[in-house]
């Protein structure tokens, strides 16, 4: 019955989705800059992070305003979940910035002769994020739940990349500096997948009113 309120909720959802697409683009571009050694692209990613940060501020402000209208039930869950998702998206943006920074550093030095499939792990992480966001739009709890176990695959892949880089560093001490950049970049992607998992858990809470965070069956706690 409250059209103004419903309109406010719609605006909130729209802002969130727009912020999400910015975050996805940032990750894509950061990985591209890394793989293609594109310093200019890396710089753009870092600058665009401000846009993502601004979105978080706006979404939080709008959410607080909506909370003063004392929403209940689904509306209440939607507003609180929106605030949480926006925080995860902002962190994803930060991780993209970190990747971009490493991309820029690596582009200033000769490439390392190692075959890493960063686009693949990045692709997995981004697919998870997309699936979680689609579940949010469609209020599809099952789809959101399906995202969560995929984090294991990303963790495993990260471990592989990590091991390969460590071995390379042992065999070629001169590449240690550059390999460390790669390690950090891969770690950032693994964190992006973690954030995507958080978003999925938030979507489950929104749909089912069940809080499934920290309930075992997640990937290992902290990767070295």
């Amino acid at each position: 019955m409250d059209n103004h309120f419903e309109a406010g909720l719609d605006t909130l959802k729209q802002k969130l989705l727009t912020m999400a697409s910015h975050a996805e683009t940032a990750v894509n571009q950061a990985v591209q800059a890394l793989v293609q050694r594109d310093s200019a692209l890396a710089l753009r990613v870092k600058e665009d992070d401000n846009v993502i940060d601004q979105f978080e501020v706006e979404i939080d402000e709008l959410a607080i305003q909506l909370l003063t209208k004392a929403p209940l039930a689904t509306n209440l869950r939607l507003v609180t979940v929106a605030m949480k998702i926006s925080q995860d998206l902002e962190r994803i943006g930060d991780e993209a910035s970190k990747i971009a920074k490493r991309a820029r550093d690596l582009s200033l030095e000769p490439p390392v002769k190692i075959n890493l499939d960063l686009p693949r792990i990045a692709g997995l992480a981004l697919d998870m994020l997309k699936a979680a966001l689609d579940a949010f739009v469609n209020r599809d709890s099952a789809a959101a739940r399906a995202v969560i176990p995929r984090d294991k695959e990303v963790d495993a892949l990260n471990k592989q990349i990590h091991a390969a880089l460590v071995q390379h560093m042992v065999e070629n001490p001169a590449t240690i500096g550059r390999c460390l950049h790669w390690i950090v970049a891969a770690k950032s992607i693994e964190r992006i997948a973690d954030h995507a998992t958080n978003v999925a858990e938030d979507v489950v809470y929104l749909c089912e009113a069940q809080d499934i965070r920290h309930t075992g069956v997640k990937s290992q706690a902290v990767s070295p």
Partner: protein, 259 residues
């Protein structure tokens, strides 16, 4: 739909309660348990039967000659509608506070507080004085009126009068206190005093409150029952009803889509 909590915690057990006015059923086949020493709120759109339901709990609906009830209500195990039970006795165990405060205009503050006792035969002055102070303290009115206990009750403000009515109800030491929209005629400050009072009182009393203000129900109650056109649609912990209700009707009402 009845959510029966652990029965030993139930102050009132209502089973299949229906209330008819002539041929019209105002309350249809309601069953629920009211937990002792907790606040149970009854919400729903106007005309949904919540006040009628409340009045059936202390047999007040019998004041209307056309009213008739079916079903069973037990107060701590005693059937309040059994033939051996006088309605008057039920109402001493289950008290009621009304929407419009109604202190008796010909009586002073202290006479109002003790009227339930005096008109039921209690004469001992010491007991009456003690009970007066006790009840006025419990309803957070003592400090404001202790120096003018013999002033006319109607000289108090609206919010004070309502607290006086609460003290009057508490003076007969009921086990359950029913409140029919107790704060709806009061300004926000007086309302919040009443709500604070309810949260204090629930330590010792079982309280059932009818309210059309969902925020109020969310603030003061532990359990909430949602009524719609005479039927109990959903009854659960307040937190659940207001964050994730099970029934779509409840969700629609609570998010303001109707009513």
């Amino acid at each position: 739909m009845a959510t029966t909590q652990n029965n030993s915690d139930a102050a009132l057990i209502v089973r299949n309660l229906s209330v008819f006015f002539g041929n019209r059923a105002a309350v249809k086949d309601v069953s629920l348990d009211v937990t002792a020493r907790a606040v149970t709120a009854i919400i729903g759109p106007s005309g949904c039967g919540k006040s009628t339901f409340l009045r059936a709990l202390n047999r007040m609906h019998e004041l209307n000659p056309e009213a008739r009830m079916e079903g069973e209500i037990k107060l701590f195990g005693d059937d309040i509608y059994s033939r051996n039970v006088e309605p008057v006795v039920v109402r001493r165990r289950i008290g009621m506070v009304f929407q419009k405060s109604n202190p008796f205009p010909t009586m002073s503050i202290t006479e109002n507080v003790t009227v339930g006792l005096r008109l039921n035969g209690v004469r001992e002055r010491k007991l009456l004085a003690e009970r007066t102070e006790q009840s006025l303290r419990m309803s957070a009115l003592w400090d404001e009126v202790k120096d003018r206990l013999h002033a006319p009750a109607i000289s108090l403000s609206g919010g004070q009068q309502q607290r006086l009515c609460i003290a009057r109800a508490l003076a007969v030491q009921p086990e359950v206190l029913l409140m029919d929209e107790p704060a709806s005629a009061l300004d926000p400050l007086a309302t919040s005093k009443i709500e604070e009072l309810i949260l204090q009182l629930k330590k010792d009393y079982t309280i059932v409150i009818v309210t059309h203000n969902m925020q109020q129900a969310a603030r003061v109650s532990d359990f909430t029952a949602f009524f719609y056109i005479g039927e109990l649609v959903e009854f659960d912990a307040t937190a659940k009803i207001f964050t994730s209700p099970s029934k779509k009707q409840t969700e629609d009402y609570v998010t303001g889509r109707f009513g």
